[in-house]
């Protein structure tokens, strides 16, 4: 028998960055395995993080597979385990097992222009992808990020977004007008419609709250994107992460193992069970 699939490996928190404060805080955790082992994964894959004594939670890996020194997770404080994670400090030990899931089909996207449309914490699963494509810049066409949050205070990776603007097109938005905000005001879907990205030789990936995903997909369809050109990620409650415990399924698909990345062409064929 090989490795015990349920056994997490101890990992140290190297650095914690507060992305968003308030009642729905987001923090970014950089971690590395205590034994120094490498962890190879694909963009869009997830890992099961353990806070011992509290439990496990499936989180998308927000670092790029090109960064070999650490694994990064951006986490919204939402329940028992994520609250415990938010209370941790650099140097603390968590458990990690994975990587899980299918990841983005980057091979198929070579040579295409890519639109990333994210909302709120939904930028986290896209973040590794953004950096991976930037890292292999010559493999892809123009890259565009459309990202929005409720307010400017809710924008994740704030500082890095400014840097990003030097490397690719970035359109930001906030839901309602606020003083000092010079970019788009409105929902992400409206911003997408406003910027009119061309579907020509394009791939669009959208990630965020369910209502945002729904509206962005509609906007993309209005802009003549085909179902097969649109990708999104799905989340469901998970425990095992390996398609055995039986709770995250959408039809025959276990999101943990067969997802979380789906093209809209695939997803629309599956029952609405997420």
């Amino acid at each position: 028998m090989g490795h015990n699939v349920y056994l997490p490996k101890p990992a140290k928190i190297l650095e914690i960055k507060e992305e968003v404060g308030g009642v729905r805080p987001i923090k970014t955790f950089r971690t590395s395995f205590v034994d120094g082992a490498a962890f190879s994964y694909r963009c869009g894959q997830c890992a099961m993080l353990s806070v011992f004594g509290k439990g496990e939670v499936m989180i998308s890996i927000s670092s790029s597979p090109l960064d070999k020194d650490y694994l990064q997770f951006s986490i919204l404080k939402t329940g028992r385990v994520t609250t415990a994670l938010h209370e941790m400090e650099a140097g603390d030990i968590i458990g990690i097992r994975g990587p899980y899931g299918n990841g983005f089909p980057l091979e198929e996207w070579k040579g295409k222009q890519i639109l990333f449309a994210g909302g709120g914490i939904g930028l986290a699963p896209l973040w590794g992808l953004v950096h991976m494509t930037l890292g292999q810049r010559e493999d892809y066409g123009p890259l565009t990020l459309v990202y929005g949050a409720r307010t400017s205070q809710d924008i994740v990776f704030r500082g890095e977004l400014d840097d990003l603007k030097k490397k690719m097109t970035v359109h930001l938005s906030v839901d309602v007008a606020e003083s000092g905000w010079n970019e788009f005001v409105g929902f992400v879907a409206q911003n997408v419609l406003d910027k009119k990205p061309s579907p020509q030789n394009s791939i669009a990936i959208t990630c965020g709250p369910p209502i945002m995903i729904k509206t962005v997909i509609k906007a993309l369809k209005d802009l003549n994107f085909e179902d097969g050109q649109i990708y999104t990620t799905v989340e469901n409650k998970m425990k095992c992460g390996i398609g055995k415990c039986g709770r995250c399924n959408i039809g025959r698909h276990y999101v943990c193992k067969d997802g979380p990345v789906y093209s809209w062409a695939e997803l629309k064929k599956l029952p609405q069970e997420y």
């Binding site: 011992f52 939402t78 458990g95 399924n249 039809g251 193992k257």
Partner: protein, 345 residues
């Protein structure tokens, strides 16, 4: 390897299996369940259906995965694998043997489940072919099984009145026969004939049938949003009987059981879980993709008669009838599936 064992020698055989932990159905408070055999001389095999199926032996309701402890040297994680001591289960129904082949599929594959396989590999399943249906709700024939199916079993016993006809089906089964050595004799041609006769007769004794279900998977695909599920689930009380006691259901939960919090000491533990409990799929946000009884009944039926078929090309139901017999409100999977079959016809 086919052999004959005189019934009077059955308990002597069990006595020779000292290196095994032996389980067999035992009746307590009017309920049959697999229990550890402590007095082999009192052993009898009967056509009974236990409440908890044999899956509980290879996939126990509670399985500690590892211990976590905060020590001076940091967090220590200690794997707790089952010891894998040899176990033999007597009186396994052929439908339960088939069910184990389905949990084998689930717990195998790319992510092999060490806990399951440690127990499974150490377990010898001794089936008892059903002379009479052990439950009025048996319907194994309808889902590809039979009262004398050999799938998943290591040894199959058939009751010939004064003797058992023993068919060793695997190396593990042969080993068990060898342990009993001289107690077993070679069968005569009349013995095999007797077995065939009993088996043919037992098929006819099965009263319940779920016929013409080839199109059910396709039917179910089209019925996801049907109000049918609301009607069918009206009487469901959302307990876990149908799934916990199903020999093929494998869903589980994982939780940290903390013994002391300072310093931290505890275990991560797997327990059975069920799609019939509302908290099974509920997100931390409170959003629940399967928020009502209708969607949960649909999940149970779809999993068994559509999703599992799509992934493994077989039904995730071996027709033991437990979910029918034990449902407090009489929800009958045969009738539900028949209605699906005839839906819109």
């Amino acid at each position: 390897m086919d052999k004959i064992l005189a019934k009077k020698d059955y308990s002597r055989w069990l006595e020779k299996l000292g290196s095994y932990r032996i389980f067999a159905p035992r009746k307590r408070d009017d309920v049959w369940n697999y229990e550890m055999v402590t007095a082999p001389d009192a052993e009898r095999l009967e056509d009974v259906m236990t409440a908890v199926p044999a899956k509980g032996i290879v996939f126990p309701q509670r399985e500690p995965f590892f211990e976590f402890a905060e020590t001076d040297d940091g967090t220590r994680i200690t794997e707790i694998l089952p010891e894998g001591e040899p176990v033999v289960v007597f009186g396994v129904r052929p439908c339960e043997g088939r069910a184990v082949t389905l949990t084998d599929d689930v717990f195998g594959g790319e992510f092999e489940d060490h806990y399951y396989w440690k127990r499974r590999n150490a377990t010898t399943l001794v089936g008892l072919s059903c002379g009479a249906p052990p439950s009025p709700n048996c319907f194994c024939l309808s889902v590809g099984g039979s009262p004398h199916s050999k799938e998943g079993l290591d040894l199959l016993l058939t009751d010939l009145g004064k003797t058992y006809y023993a068919e060793a089906l695997t190396k593990k089964g042969e080993k068990l026969v060898l342990e009993g050595q001289k107690l077993f004799t070679a069968p005569g041609p009349e013995d095999r004939k007797a077995v065939d006769k009993i088996q043919a007769a037992s098929r006819k004794k099965i009263r319940r049938e779920l016929s013409r279900i080839e199109n059910v998977p396709a039917k179910l695909r089209g019925m996801f949003d049907s109000p049918f599920w609301d009607d069918e689930s009206m009487s469901c009380i959302r307990c876990g009987i149908c799934t916990y006691l199903c020999p093929t259901c494998h869903c589980f939960d994982m939780a940290d059981e903390v013994e002391t919090s300072t310093p931290l000491l505890g275990k991560r533990v797997r327990t059975w879980d069920t799609c019939q409990f509302p908290d099974f799929t509920m997100h931390s946000s409170g959003h629940n993709p399967r928020p009502d009884k209708a969607s949960r009944l649909r999940q149970r039926i779809n999993h068994k008669f559509q999703y599992f078929v799509e992934v493994w090309q077989k039904y995730q139901c071996t027709g033991c009838g437990r979910c029918i017999s034990l449902c407090p409100v009489g929800i009958d999977i045969i009738q539900v599936v028949e209605k699906v079959r005839d839906h819109g016809a």
